[in-house]
C-alpha cells in the first residue's frame, strides 16, 4: 500500500456539530480535542512521517470572542496532549500577535518529546499571507520558494483530509499544498471515526503521483 509521508488535517465542522447537538456553537471545539489524539496514534501506527493540524487562522480570530477563546483553548489543550506523546512538535503561526496564546510560545521552535519519530505541526494563528510575506526578505536571484517561507520546516503535504464537507483549502499551507491530494468527508470533525482515516488512505492509494510530469 502507498502510504502518504505527510498528512494535513482540516478538522472542520465543530460549530455545526455543536448546533446539531443542541449546544452553543463554541462548545464544539473541546469535542474536537480527543479525535486529534486518536488520529495522531493512528498515524504513528501506519507509519506516517509528518502530520499537520489546522488549528486556527488569523482570519478565524475575527469571530465572536466566545468562539475565539474556545478554539484557542482547545488548541492549547491539544498541543499539551501531543507533547506527552513521542513526537517532534512545532507550533507555527504569527506569534507576534496578541491572538497567539502565550502558553504555546515554547513550541514555536521544534521540540522532540520522548523518542520523537513523527513530525507534528500545529498551525496556531496561522495566516497564508503571514507565511508568504517572508519571501520579501529573500534574494530574487534564487528561484527557490519553499525554503524562504515562514513554514519552511513543514514539508510538502501528500494528502489533505478535511472534515465537514467543504471542498476548499481555506488558506491551509498554500505552498506545501500545490500538489496535495484532497479528500473531503461530510462528517463533522467531532464525529471522527478511525474508519474515516482508513477510507482516506484507501482513496489515496488509488491516486497516482505525477507532480505535473
Amino acid at each position: 500500500m502507498r502510504i502518504p509521508k505527510h498528512i494535513g488535517i482540516i478538522p472542520d465542522g465543530n460549530r455545526r456539530w455543536a448546533e446539531a447537538n443542541k449546544m452553543t456553537k463554541e462548545k464544539g471545539y473541546e469535542c474536537g480535542i480527543d479525535p486529534g489524539l486518536i488520529l495522531f496514534k493512528l498515524c504513528k501506527e501506519v507509519g506516517i512521517k509528518e502530520l499537520t493540524y489546522y488549528g486556527f487562522t488569523t482570519d478565524n480570530t475575527k469571530r465572536p470572542a466566545v468562539e475565539r477563546k474556545a478554539f484557542t483553548n482547545s488548541c492549547i489543550s491539544a498541543v499539551n496532549l501531543l507533547s506527552k506523546e513521542a513526537a517532534e512538535l512545532l507550533v507555527i503561526g504569527d506569534y507576534e500577535s496578541p491572538m497567539f496564546p502565550k502558553e504555546l510560545y515554547t513550541y514555536t521552535t521544534r521540540q522532540t518529546f520522548g523518542k520523537g519519530g513523527i513530525k507534528v505541526n500545529f498551525l496556531v494563528n496561522y495566516g497564508w499571507e503571514w507565511d508568504l510575506n517572508s519571501l520579501k526578505l529573500a534574494d530574487p536571484a534564487q528561484k527557490n520558494i519553499t525554503s524562504h517561507i515562514k513554514s519552511f520546516d513543514v514539508s510538502r503535504v501528500d494528502l489533505i483530509i478535511r472534515w465537514g464537507g467543504r471542498r476548499r483549502l481555506s488558506g491551509f499551507l498554500p505552498v506545501q499544498s500545490v500538489y496535495s491530494d484532497f479528500y473531503v468527508l461530510d462528517d463533522y470533525w467531532p464525529d471522527f471515526k478511525p474508519e474515516h482515516f482508513y477510507r482516506a488512505l484507501d482513496w489515496y492509494n488509488d491516486q497516482d503521483v505525477t507532480l505535473g510530469g
Copy 2:
C-alpha cells in the same frame, strides 16, 4: 442563484481520453480546444466576470517532446479562437523561457477584443514558483501579497472546476485559490458537456462563503 464571479478551469484528462479512444496520448489535446470555446460562451451567458484556463505549466514541459508540442499548439489555437470573441484576454506564464510560444507574446499584456466584458486569463508555461518569486522584490513592511505576485492581474478564484477526476490543484494559482471552492468531475476534458458546467454552478450555489469568518 449565487453565481461565482471568477471560475478557474483545470481541463485535465486529455491523454487518458486519447488512450481510451485508441489514439496516441498527444492526440487528446486538440480535442480539448472546442470544449474551451463552448465553456467560454456558457460563462458569458450566465454572467461570469472572469475565467481562467489552466493551459500548461513549467512542470508539464518536462513531458516527451511530442506531447509538449501538442499541448503548446492546442493552447495557441485556443487563445487565437478566444481572441475572436468579445473578451479582455491575458496570457500569463514565464515568457522569458524558450518553452513559451512566440505566437502568444502579444497577449502577455491584457488586450480587449470586441466589446470586452469578460476577463479571460490563460495560463501558458505557468509555474507557481515563478508566480511567487516576484514577492522577493517587494517591500516586507507591506503585508499585502496579492498585488506583488506576477499574476497580480488575476483576481481571487471563487470556483475551480477540474475534469479528469483528480482532486488536487497541481500548482494552479496558489494565492488566488486559497478560498476557492473545488468541484471535480470524473469525465475527461474532451468529453466536456454543458451539463458539467451547470452541475458545478448548482453545487457552488449550495456552498457558503465564509472566508474564515
